[in-house]
């Protein structure tokens, strides 16, 4: 009989129920969108910053960043670096070997680098011409190019002690930093010049700060590469950690606000839906219905609206979150596993809570008073 009554009442009150479900759906959609966003957005914004340079430096143990470049003789074995791929927080790394070389007869800092790796961490570099691709191509800093009078396509002679190489300038780079006064060459070239095959002096590592601090990531690196010291760059570590934490907190609070607001809106709709039917409650009581029966009828209504609106809203919210993720980060956000249960719980919880009070009130009032109207 309960089912029959529900079916009748639902068919009869299509519009009102539609309205209540719609409002539930909207609230649940906002909730689910934000829960899903706030889960992943912190790491996404962190990832965004990772295109702007390293935040951890790897040096051979005991070596230092001295004005003359790293000490010769002691280096990092290039093949050891594969171990970095096993650390999830590491999103990229770029090995390098720096020398103060004799370039066209003048002293200039020359860096041997792996261009593909470097490029992924250097969103702010402006290259005219092209990034070097061939093993005999070099990237020349703009300031150095200006004073050396070189342009892309020109040949450049690089000497170190007795060794000497001639390369082609593939492009000019402007970074606004030290690189403007450097020449970057393929790593094997620098290794050959320095007589240190397979060795690198410095590795720039780009690591995500989501979840763990950079100090922890550095610790993990040192654990895997025992002959290496990993130095977090405090400038980036601190800034990123604080900025990412702010974004996270901001989103969490916005999510909380939206949640509260959605609960209020949904609650008020459910509330009116029940208040509207007070006469019905009075009539049922007058007909001799047990209070529990009446309550069950109305609460079933609430659960129905909550569940349908909550489910639909969850799906819609997931869509909104995905859309925002795509628009802002050009990435597919990972849905929060908590999204569905939380959204459903909030939706049905609110619907129930908002129904209980008016139902109880209506049950408490003498049916005669209710039946008389207003």
């Amino acid at each position: 009989m309960l089912w029959r009554m529900l079916r009748g009442s639902w068919r009869h009150r299509r519009v009102r129920l539609g309205v209540a479900t719609l409002s539930m759906l909207l609230g649940a959609a906002m909730t689910s969108a934000l829960i899903n966003l706030s889960f992943d957005v912190g790491s996404q914004t962190g990832r965004e910053l990772r295109a702007y340079g390293a935040n951890i430096l790897l040096l051979p143990r005991g070596a230092s960043l001295t004005p003359g470049g790293t000490r010769e003789g002691r280096g990092i074995r290039e093949r050891d670096l594969a171990a970095l791929d096993g650390i999830p927080a590491v999103v990229g790394y770029a090995p390098s070997l720096y020398l103060v070389a004799d370039v066209q007869g003048r002293p200039l800092a020359a860096g041997g680098v792996v261009f593909e790796r470097l490029q992924a961490m250097s969103a702010w570099w402006r290259v005219t011409g092209s990034w070097p691709a061939a093993p005999d191509e070099a990237l020349l800093g703009v300031s150095a190019a200006r004073s050396l009078g070189l342009a892309p396509g020109d040949r450049i002679a690089i000497g170190y002690h007795d060794a000497k190489r001639e390369l082609v300038v593939a492009g000019l780079v402007e970074t606004g930093g030290a690189e403007d006064n450097q020449v970057l060459v393929p790593l094997p070239v620098a290794q050959a010049l320095a007589g240190q095959p397979g060795q690198v002096g410095l590795v720039q590592v780009s690591a995500l700060v989501a979840g763990q601090s950079l100090v922890e990531v550095a610790g993990a690196i040192e654990a895997r590469l025992p002959d290496i010291q990993a130095r977090p760059l405090r400038q980036f570590a601190q800034a990123e950690e604080s900025v990412v934490a702010k974004v996270r907190l901001l989103l969490a609070l916005v999510a909380a606000v939206v949640l509260g607001v959605a609960a209020l809106a949904v609650g008020s709709t459910m509330f009116t839906a029940v208040v509207e039917r007070r006469a019905e409650i009075g009539l049922m009581k007058a007909l001799g219905a047990a209070e529990r029966r009446v309550a069950a009828l109305f609460l079933a209504d609430g659960i129905g609206v909550g569940a349908i609106g909550g489910l639909g809203g969850y799906a819609a919210g997931l869509g909104v979150a995905a859309l925002i993720g795509q628009q802002v980060f050009h990435a597919t956000l990972q849905p929060n596993p908590l999204g569905l249960p939380v959204t459903l719980a909030v939706a049905t919880g609110v619907a129930l809570a908002a129904s209980i009070w008016p139902v109880r009130q209506a049950l408490a009032i003498d049916p005669a008073v209710i039946l008389r109207g207003e």
Binding site: L65, G68, L108, L250
Partner: protein, 442 residues
């Protein structure tokens, strides 16, 4: 009679009216809060990003090739100290002076300590500068005025590089013998906090004491830092620095008026240039720094500046999209609530029609009621939204967000519009129906 009707309807249907007003104010609160936050977020986040340190670099204007290793530039002695540090106080007279968070001059030399070659850099650690009353400050692209009162501000490394981790104490700028030693260098030299040591430059000795050890993970770990005057004395200069770092609050270029984006300021009309000049973007601020440091080459530190710009744009876009979603959702929710409250009163509409009300009169009654509720709900919601925005701002940025005044009219207009739109639809529909079916109940 209309007023009486509205008054009675709102007074005697308190609960229903309250629910509708609640729905409106809740929706408006959400809209106002998110609008307020998202309109203010770029500025707040820009301030947060300043923990990245300096984003503008000024160096002496010399065309020669420079050998830069280990974070310092090796220059021929003749080219040392090209920037006069006594002019730096003028950075606080530029148009965007309040966006200049701090700055510090640097003057480096390679010295010998315990038989090792190390970089020694003179700088300002923590200085309080004074801008006298009457100093000429910029108020526009080509307007100036005299500062009304004397102002002071703190600057130096401590302000622009908050990530320096110091063991021991910060050196005092006035103390010629105080030095801060990079932690890696100190380990190499066997120096500890409080130890005295001597640095030699061109055969001249300089007695120093390590008051603190610096660690940053970067090149600073390999250097010795002293007061700027100490370094100048060592190099035989009376004044001058060869690098100045400036930390300035900069908003992304997409905050610039759309028609000016990506254009060369030199090609702009005077009016466009004035607008460009008065926008808090990197280009304008660099131009203004150049104006007060005429013989310096001023450039943004692109690694920092672009990371910041990119990040701020993302966060801004994120908040904008969120706000748009929330706006749409709350507008829909409010419309739904209004629709429900009108639907509930269809019998009333039928009766009014039966006793001779025409469509216009009925619409007037219901829409003015909706308008009134929209107004009240909008105002309440605006106030609540401000409080929410303030709460979020306080929690996240420890500073009140200051939503622009435009949020008020926008919120009210929104509330009104949505309340009206939400009622108009069902009223229109009910007015079209014949009174018989409305009075019969359905």
């Amino acid at each position: 009679m209309l007023i009486r009707l509205l008054g009675d309807s709102l007074r005697r249907r308190t609960r229903r009216a309250a629910v509708a007003i609640l729905a409106i104010s809740v929706g408006t609160a959400l809209a106002a809060a998110l609008l307020g936050i998202s309109l203010d977020i770029t500025e707040k986040m820009a301030r947060e990003m300043r923990s990245y340190g300096a984003n503008i670099l000024a160096t002496p204007d010399s065309g020669d090739v420079q050998l830069e290793v280990g974070g310092i530039t090796i220059r021929p002695p003749a080219a040392r100290g090209g920037i006069d540090e006594t002019q730096l106080v003028k950075l606080k007279t530029i148009f965007w002076r309040n966006n200049v968070v701090g700055f510090a001059p640097f003057l480096s030399a390679i010295v010998e300590v315990r038989d090792q070659q190390v970089a020694l850099t003179g700088t300002w650690f923590d200085r309080t500068l004074t801008l006298p009353a009457g100093a000429s400050v910029r108020t526009g692209a080509d307007t100036r005025e005299k500062a009304a009162s004397t102002s002071t501000f703190r600057t130096g490394v401590r302000v622009i590089a908050p990530w320096w981790q110091v063991e021991g104490k910060w050196a005092n700028d006035e103390d010629p013998g105080a030095a801060m030693v990079g932690s890696a260098l100190a380990r190499r030299l066997g120096l500890r906090v409080g130890d005295a040591f001597t640095a030699h430059y061109a055969g001249r000795p300089l007695a120093l004491r390590a008051v603190g050890l610096v660690s940053t993970g970067g090149y600073e770990d390999e250097q010795i830092f002293v007061g700027l005057t100490t370094a100048q004395g060592l190099l035989g200069l009376s004044r001058g620095a060869d690098k100045v770092l400036v930390s300035a609050l900069v908003e992304p270029d997409d905050r610039l008026r759309p028609d000016l984006r990506g254009r060369d300021p030199a090609q702009m009309t005077p009016e466009q240039y004035a607008t460009w000049y008065c926008s808090p973007i990197m280009g304008a601020i660099v131009t203004q720094v150049k104006e007060v440091l005429p013989n310096a080459d001023v450039r943004p530190i692109r690694q920092i500046a672009e990371a910041e710009g990119g990040f701020l744009s993302k966060v801004g876009l994120l908040m904008t999209l969120l706000t748009a979603t929330a706006l749409a959702a709350s507008a829909l929710a409010v419309m739904t609530a209004m629709t429900a409250s009108v639907l509930e009163r269809r019998t009333e509409i039928g009766l009014m029609k039966a006793i001779g009300a025409d469509a216009g009169q009925i619409a007037l009654v219901f829409l003015s009621e909706a308008g009134l509720m929209g107004l009240v709900g909008g105002l309440l919601g605006y106030v609540a939204g401000l409080a929410l925005a303030a709460f979020v701002g306080q929690q996240v940025f420890a500073a009140a967000v200051s939503p622009p005044p435009a949020v008020l009219p926008v919120s009210i207009a929104l509330a009104l519009g949505v309340a009206l739109a939400g009622s108009a639809l069902p009223v229109r529909q009910a007015v079209r129906l014949d009174p018989v079916s409305l009075l019969r109940g359905r």
